[in-house]
Structures are given as C-alpha cells and as structure tokens.
C-alpha cells in the first residue's frame, strides 16, 4: 500500500521528529511512504483569519501536489480537516477546483485514523509511562476522529493512560487566535493545564502540533515538568523491531 505524507508546516518547521515517527510507524506496517516535495501549508491561518483568496492559493498548490497520491496521511487533525472539510467549501463556486478538492478530501486521513480505519493495525509497541490525552477540537468535532488515538494508545504496552477531565474543551490555541487574543488564549491554556495536572501524569499526548506547541510552550514558560508528545512519537518510540 502506498501513502503520501502531508507533513504540515508546523511539523516541517518545528517538529520534524514527528514526521520521522510517522514514516517509521507507517513503514513498520508495510506502507510505502512518499513525500511530495512541493507541499507547503494547508492555508488554514489565512482561511480562519478571513483571507480566503490567499487561502485558495495555498489550497490550489496542495491539491496539485497530492493529486497523484493514493492516500494522504497527516499528523494533524486540524490540517486534515482543512483538506477534508474546508477545501470543497472554499471552491464551492468553481466546479473544476471543487471536483479536484473533493477527490483530495476523499483520500485524506489523520494519522491515527489511517492506522485504525484503513490499516486496521494491532499496535506492537511498548512505552512505560503515565500519560493523558488531549482531544484537539478540529479532529474531534470536524473530522469525527475521537476514539482512534485512544484505541491505539490503549494497546501500547506499559503505557497507563489516564482520563483528562474536560477532555473535549479547547486548549486555546486556535491558530491566529493564539496571537490576536493572546490573553484569552493563554488563560485557556492555563485552564487546560490545570486539568492535565489533576491527572498527575508525566506526559500530555496529542494529535495536533498547534495545540501541543501552545500547551508545551506554556508548560515550558512555567517551568513545569510535564512533557508533550504526539501519538506518532509514542508509537514510534516504543516500536518493537
């Protein structure tokens, strides 16, 4: 089976190790991974800020780049939702581009969703730690991917996954919201992190690097010990070879 990695700009720029983990895990399960070099950013910052013409430029680039792919897999629920939910809407008045957008939408998956729904994997990993999981809003509500990451993490040997209180509440990242409304965004991070602390775990696991950068950045600023990790990193770190 072949799949193309859609790295997302945040992972490309700040967290390349997450991309490497995705490749490692997918290849472990027999997927032939390719990486179209022309990919950039999905355009979400522009779209959510109201700059839809600018977002279309990014969208057209991404549609062109992934047109030859069988599957597109992304380590971000939010960016995958951009492909799946937003692109077809963005081009709703342009028949040609809308059709191309819909084709991309149909073959795009978030990482954990791809592992569970398409590959049906049985996790072969061990990672002794206590952790809790943060459900990112776009993945949870717009993609409808809720249980897949939990299903995977629950199969990891030695990993104790504790329930996060208020797990479906937003962490306060929200893309440009984090800068435009920095006071509110930071206050929301503190609310979320107070719940994380209640779980008394070492690691906060997530599926969206925006949320993890925001919460991790806040934890770091406060000198807290809790680490943040992407699901792919947990699976790759504990992979039994």
């Amino acid at each position: 089976m072949k799949a193309s990695l859609f790295i997302t700009c945040l992972a490309d720029l700040f967290y390349p190790q997450v991309g490497k983990s995705v490749v490692e895990v997918l290849e472990h399960y027999g997927v032939e991974v390719d990486f179209p070099m022309g990919q950039t950013c999905c355009g979400q910052p522009a779209y959510n800020s109201g700059y839809h013409e600018e977002a279309k430029k990014a969208a057209e680039q991404m549609i062109r780049v992934f047109e030859g792919s069988t599957y597109v897999v992304s380590p971000s629920g939010s960016c995958a939702a951009m492909f799946r939910e937003i692109y077809p809407q963005l081009f709703r008045e342009d028949e040609e581009w809308r059709e191309r957008a819909e084709k991309l939408a149909q073959k795009t998956y978030e990482f954990s969703e791809f592992l569970v729904k398409v590959l049906g994997v049985k996790v072969e990993a061990a990672f002794p730690a206590t952790a809790t999981y943060h459900h990112s809003c776009h993945m949870n509500r717009f993609l409808g991917v809720k249980e897949e990451p939990i299903t995977l993490l629950n199969q990891v040997e030695g990993l104790t996954l504790k329930d996060l209180p208020y797990s479906h509440d937003c962490c306060g990242f929200g893309g440009t919201f984090s800068v435009k409304m920095k006071e509110i965004s930071t206050a929301m991070a503190d609310t979320k992190l107070s719940h994380v602390e209640e779980t008394d775990t070492e690691i906060l696991i997530g599926s969206d690097l925006g949320c993890l950068m925001h919460l991790g950045g806040r934890l770091h600023r406060q000198g807290k010990e809790i680490k943040t990790m992407h699901v792919a990193e947990v699976l790759a770190k504990g992979l039994k070879k």
């Binding site: 992972a11 490309d12 720029l13 700040f14 967290y15 390349p16 490497k20 390719d34 990486f35 179209p36 070099m37 022309g38 990919q39 950039t40 950013c41 355009g43 522009a46 779209y47 959510n48 800020s49 109201g50 700059y51 839809h52 977002a55 430029k57 990014a58 057209e60 680039q61 780049v65 030859g68 809003c137 509500r141 717009f142 479906h168 509440d169 937003c170 306060g172 990242f173 929200g174 893309g175 919201f177 984090s178 800068v179 435009k180 409304m181 920095k182 006071e183 509110i184 965004s185 930071t186 206050a187 929301m188 991070a189 609310t191 950068m213 991790g216 950045g217 806040r218 770091h220 600023r221």
Partner: protein, 470 residues
C-alpha cells in the same frame, strides 16, 4: 451602554481583573452545561430532536411574513392590539405612547433580552417612569447598575456575598448571604412592585401563530405576575420568535428548557392569548404586542439568515471556553458568548464590533450543541471574511497574508524560508526556545515559550535521506 464605548481588549482586561467573575462563571457554566448533557441523553435520540427543531426553524424563516401576519390576525381576534416596529426607536416610542395614554408611573418587567437590545429602560426612566426588573438575576444587576452578562443567567458573574451587599444597601438593613434570606427579601420587595405597577412589560419566548398566543417560560413565576397584575401588559418580541402551531411549540420548548438549564420543562409556562374577557377574575384590560424588526429583515435576506433560528437557550454560551474565561460583559453587547459574537456585529454594525468575530478559537463546541443547528463557528469565519473584504482590518495583516499566499504557492521559496528560519534560529533563542519574540512573535511569546525552528526541516531531512522523488 457605557460598556460598549470601551474597546474589546480593554473589556477583556477588566474581565481578567475581576477574580469574582472568573470564579463564579465556570461554576454556573458547568451546572448548566452538564445539566444539558443529562437532559438531552434522557431524550435518547437527541440528534433527531435537533434535526426536527432545526427544520421547524428553517421552515418558519422561509415563511416568516405569513406566520407573523397570521399571528397578528389571531392575536387581534383575541382582543389584543398588535404593533409593528421597524427599529428600536419605533418600538420605544410605541411603548412610551401606551405608557403616556395610561399615565403610567410604575413599570414592572420580566424576561426580555429584546428590551435590552432597544434600551427601553433608559427611555422609560427619561420619561419619568420607574422601572423595576423582576427576574431575580435582572433585579440584581439593575441594583448594581450593570447589563446582563448571560442570556438566561444575567447575574452569573456575581457571588452570593455580592448580592447580599447589594440587597442590604437597598433594604437599608444588613442581610445575611443565605440564599433563603436573599430570595425572601427579593420576594417581599418585588411583591409590592407588582401590586403598585401601572404597566407590565415582558418579552416573548415564542408566539404561536395559529392561536395568536404569547408563550412565556420562567422558573420564578414573575412573568405571570408581570403579565397579569397590572392593568396593561405590553409584550415586546423579535419578529423571528413566531412558531406556526402548538405541535411545533412542543418541540421547541422541549429543546429550549433542556438545552438552557437541563430541565425537562421550566417551572412555569404561560400562554397569553389576549386581555381579560368578561367574567374573567383577573388579567390585564389591555394587551399590546410589539413585533420588532430592528435589522432582522436584513439578516433574513443575508447569508447569515440561520442566526435567526436562535431560541436563546444559551447552550453555546455554556460550553464556550472563551466565555468561560472572559464572562459576558467583555462581549460588549446584549447577547454574549458565541451567539453574541455572531449576532452583535450583524445587529449593531460590523466595524464597531470588528473584534467580536475573532473572540473565538473556532473550537466548534457551540455549533456542536446548538439545538437548532446554527452554523455558529462557520458564521464567525464568514464575518471575518466580510471584515477583510470591507477593509476593516489593519493593512499590515493583509500584507502578511499576501506574503503567506506567495510562500505557500511557491514551494521553492517556502522551503528556503523554512531552511532560513532553521539556520537563523540559534542566534535568537536559548534553551531551545524563544522567550521574547520580535514583532508579531511577541504576541506568542508574551505568554508562552516558542520552540526554535529545527536546524533541519523535515523537507531537508527527507531529501538527504531519500532523495527527491517528486
């Protein structure tokens, strides 16, 4: 209105400087939101109910003029008098002329966000009329000289102790902060107001077209007192409150109470079909219905029409993580939370309220709970788009996104930029993070550390490891 004059960020600052509000709001918000989850689960097929409620509201909006006409005809057949008001000013003038005709000096009010929208109290007081809000929450904020901070719990931001202080001052004697003492005081105080009032003014949760009936839903019974004790009763309703028949009312009331407070039904549900008839023991001699447009026709014709489906349950407010942090006053309008962020710019002007559509992380919790399926967070994005197109946002921002569009559609430049950031980053940060960023980065680093761009981007790693395939 004083709150409106301040900028959004200033109002947010004030909210953060109010520890009592920040403590009180989450507690009540939780009671309401978890109550809602329980109540909707009891319905079993909550999603089907949402779909039906949404369809009822869509159908009503599709035939709004017909149903409003039917309502007026039947309401007048019952002996009431209907008025139509194009805007707030017309509605206020209609109320004032009725008050003057009856030489009213004292007014009791209940259950009305829409009279807040048209600033009715202010106009009545200017005319020398004494106005008393009779919902407990409204009464509290009236004493405090504030505006509502929540659609159905207007005093959500106040503690019991604060209420005790306000009431003690009003009573001229110290009251304890025991709930029983406070409600007893309010009851005694308001009872006299009901008896003395010349005029009762209420809002309207729904109005049933087929019978010309006004429906008031409350937990305190004050709406009944307001609408039945004074000789004249005036109802002010937004024109979209109409419901075709009682069968549809059944669905909408079920959705309203369950989504608002987690109740199967509220304590009181009053249906008013007109003034007292010959032989009736009580009830007002005159009932007036003022149907308010105030920009609603324009919204109906616009791409935002579904916002008129709102039944004011406040489920969106109760799940909103932004509201949880900043409370209702920060929104600066009559309606707070996500519905307020969408509605206030539409009713009160986009440019004046241009921060509101951005006061959301777009988490979608509001859209997920809305019992009539208003696409709230999509509307927020749409309003942002309108603000961009109208040129109401800083020019610098447009330039930034134009640069973004160039980079994202030119992969070679994009890759160089990413690579450049990776190479330069060690010069700026320490400890793997940036603690004090320049320019726009400061918005991030004021509250959070920013990881430094990786020395080798994923793109470069892949090229080094696997070579360029495509």
């Amino acid at each position: 209105m004083t709150a409106r004059r301040k900028e959004f960020h200033q109002r947010v600052e004030e909210a953060f400087a109010n520890p009592q509000m920040r403590k009180s709001v989450p507690i009540t918000q939780d009671n309401l939101r978890f109550g809602r989850i329980r109540a909707m689960e009891e319905l079993k097929n909550g999603e089907a109910w949402r779909e039906i409620a949404s369809q009822i509201r869509n159908h009503t909006l599709d035939h709004l003029q017909e149903y409003v006409n039917e309502l007026i005809t039947n309401f007048e057949k019952n002996g009431g008098k209907a008025h139509f008001a194009k805007n707030g000013e017309e509605a206020v003038q209609t109320v004032l002329s009725i008050a003057r005709k009856h030489q009213a000096k004292r007014v009791v009010k209940s259950k009305s966000m829409v009279t807040e929208e048209i600033h009715l109290n202010h106009a009545l007081e200017e005319d020398g009329i004494n106005v008393v809000e009779t919902d407990l929450g409204e009464f509290i904020i009236q004493l405090a000289g504030e505006t509502p901070s929540h659609i159905l719990a207007p005093a959500i931001h106040k503690s019991r102790q604060e209420v005790a202080e306000l009431f003690s001052k009003e009573a001229g004697r110290p009251l304890t902060d025991r709930t029983e003492d406070l409600t007893r005081y309010a009851r005694e105080r308001l009872r006299q107001e009901f008896l003395d009032a010349d005029l009762g003014i209420t809002g309207c949760n729904f109005a049933v077209a087929e019978s010309g009936s006004i429906i008031l839903i409350s937990n305190e019974g004050n709406a009944r007192m307001t609408s039945s004790l004074p000789k004249v009763h005036i109802v002010v309703m937004g024109m979209e409150r109409v419901v075709p028949t009682w069968a549809e009312l059944d669905v909408l009331v079920t959705m309203l109470t369950r989504n608002a407070t987690g109740q199967k039904l509220s304590v009181y549900m009053t249906a008013i079909s007109g003034p007292r008839r010959a032989g009736d023991l009580d009830g007002p001699e005159e009932v007036h219905l003022i149907i308010l447009d105030n920009g609603r026709s324009d919204i109906l014709e616009s791409k935002y029409r579904e916002v008129l489906k709102c039944i004011r349950c406040s489920a969106c407010v109760n799940v909103c993580p932004v509201y949880r942090e900043i409370g209702g006053h920060a929104y600066g309008g009559v309606y707070s939370g996500p519905i307020g962020a969408v509605l206030t710019p539409l009713l009160d002007g986009m440019e004046k309220n241009k921060e509101l559509p951005f006061a959301s992380s777009l988490c979608g919790a509001c859209t997920e709970v809305c019992p009539v399926k208003i696409p709230l967070h999509h509307y927020l994005i749409e309003e942002r788009k309108d603000l961009v197109e109208k040129g109401f946002l800083p020019k610098q921002e447009r330039v930034t996104f134009q640069a973004f569009a160039f980079l994202t559609s030119h992969p070679l430049f994009y890759r160089s930029a990413v690579r450049g950031a990776g190479r330069l980053s060690p010069m700026f940060g320490r400890d793997g993070v940036l603690k004090k960023g320049p320019g726009m980065l400061a918005g991030w680093t004021d509250g959070r550390d920013l990881p430094l761009p990786a020395k080798e981007s994923f793109h470069d790693w892949w090229r080094r490891q696997r070579g360029e395939k495509r």
